[in-house]
C-alpha cells in the first residue's frame, strides 16, 4: 500500500500505459485514442449540420465511457492514493519557473495560474481557455493526440503518427522556450 501512495516511477507507469493498447484491442477491437472523444461530444451535443459531425456517434460511445473512466480514475488517485502531492521536479526547472513568475509549487498544477479566480485575468484566460482551444483544435486537425498518434500510432508503426508526434514536440519546444516566458508575465 505504501508503494501505491508514492509517486510511481516512469518504468512502472510507462509499461502500464502501454498495456492499454492491447487491452483495448483484445477487449473490443478498439484503438487507443482520447481526443476523438471531443469530436463525439460535438457530434452528440452540437452537430449544427457540419458534415464532420454527421455520423452515428453512438457507435463510438465506448470512447466516452473510456473518458469517463479517466475522470473517475483521477478522482480515486487523488482522493485515496495521495495523488496530489507536490511534484518533485528538477530544481533547475523550478528556479527557472520562479524567475518567470510561477509562485505556487504545492500541487500537480500551479494554483496561481489554474484557478477560477485566475480565469478572469488575462494570464489565466490564456492558460485555461486559449490553451484548451489550441489543444482541441490542434489534436483534431492532426487527427489524434499523444495517445492516438504518439503511443497507438507509433507502436503500430504508422509513419504519419511519427510526423505528427515530432510536430507536437516542436510546437511544445517553441512555446516553452520562446513564447511561454512572455505569457507567464501577462
Amino acid at each position: 500500500m505504501d508503494f501505491l501512495k508514492q509517486p510511481w516511477p516512469w518504468y512502472v507507469a510507462g509499461p502500464l500505459i502501454g498495456l492499454v493498447v492491447p487491452a483495448l484491442l483484445l477487449v473490443g477491437n478498439k484503438t487507443f485514442g482520447i481526443s476523438a472523444s471531443l469530436r463525439h461530444i460535438c457530434a452528440a451535443c452540437l452537430p449544427a449540420n457540419i458534415s464532420f459531425f454527421k455520423y452515428n456517434w453512438k457507435n463510438e460511445s465506448w470512447n466516452l465511457f473510456f473518458a469517463a473512466g479517466i475522470i473517475l480514475g483521477g478522482f480515486i488517485a487523488t482522493q485515496y492514493l495521495s495523488g496530489n502531492q507536490p511534484v518533485n521536479i528538477n530544481p533547475q526547472t523550478m528556479a527557472l519557473l520562479k524567475q518567470q513568475g510561477v509562485k505556487n509549487f504545492n500541487g500537480l498544477l500551479p494554483s496561481d495560474i489554474f484557478s477560477f479566480k485566475q480565469l478572469f485575468t488575462l494570464r489565466g484566460f490564456v492558460f485555461i481557455v486559449v490553451g484548451g482551444f489550441m489543444v482541441g483544435f490542434g489534436t483534431r486537425y492532426a487527427g489524434g493526440c499523444t495517445s492516438g498518434h504518439a503511443i497507438m500510432g507509433i507502436s503500430s508503426l504508422q509513419w504519419p503518427s511519427m510526423v505528427a508526434t515530432c510536430c507536437f514536440m516542436i510546437g511544445g519546444f517553441v512555446m516553452t522556450w520562446f513564447i511561454l516566458p512572455y505569457l507567464l508575465q501577462l
Binding site: K30, T31, C42, S61, F116, Y141, S147, G171, G172
Partner: protein
C-alpha cells in the same frame, strides 16, 4: 452494459496518469525544457510495450475476446498531421495537459480544468466548421 469494460480500463489509465504525475503541468514543463527523463521514459516505454504486444497479436494471430480478427486502421498522411500537430504542441505546453490528462485533472478536483475541456471541445467544433477551408 457492454461499455462498462471501457470505463474500467479508463479508470485504471486515469489512476496511472495521476500517480505518475503525467497530469502535472510541472512535469510537462520539465519535459519541454529537457530537464528530466521522466516523461520521455513514460512515453517511450509505453510505446515499446504496446509495440511488443501488437507484434505478438499479429505473430500469433491472437483474436479479440469475441473471437474477431484484431484490426488496426491505417492512418493516411495529410498535412493536418503537421499543422495540427504544431498547434496542439503549442497548446500542450500552455495547458500542460493533452486530452487524457485534462479528464484526469477534472476528476482529481481541479474543476477549473472543466473550462479548459469545454474550450478544447469548442476548438474541436471550430475545426469541424472550418475543415474544408483548411490546408490538409
Amino acid at each position: 452494459m457492454k461499455n462498462i469494460k471501457y470505463l474500467f480500463i479508463g479508470l485504471l489509465f486515469g489512476i496511472v496518469l495521476v500517480k505518475s504525475q503525467v497530469v502535472s503541468w510541472f512535469r510537462i514543463q520539465e519535459m519541454f525544457r529537457l530537464q528530466a527523463f521522466h516523461m520521455y521514459g513514460i512515453i517511450g516505454s509505453a510505446i515499446i510495450v504496446a509495440l511488443l504486444f501488437i507484434l505478438l497479436i499479429k505473430r500469433f494471430n491472437i483474436k479479440t475476446l469475441s473471437g474477431e480478427q484484431v484490426i488496426i486502421p491505417t492512418k493516411k498522411f495529410n498535412w493536418g498531421n503537421v499543422y495540427g500537430g504544431l498547434i496542439f504542441g503549442l497548446g500542450w505546453a500552455i495547458t500542460g495537459a493533452c486530452p487524457g490528462p485534462l479528464f484526469a485533472q477534472i476528476g482529481g478536483g481541479f474543476l477549473v480544468i472543466g473550462v479548459t475541456l469545454l474550450s478544447a471541445i469548442a476548438g474541436t467544433w471550430v475545426y469541424g466548421l472550418l475543415r474544408d477551408k483548411l490546408p490538409h
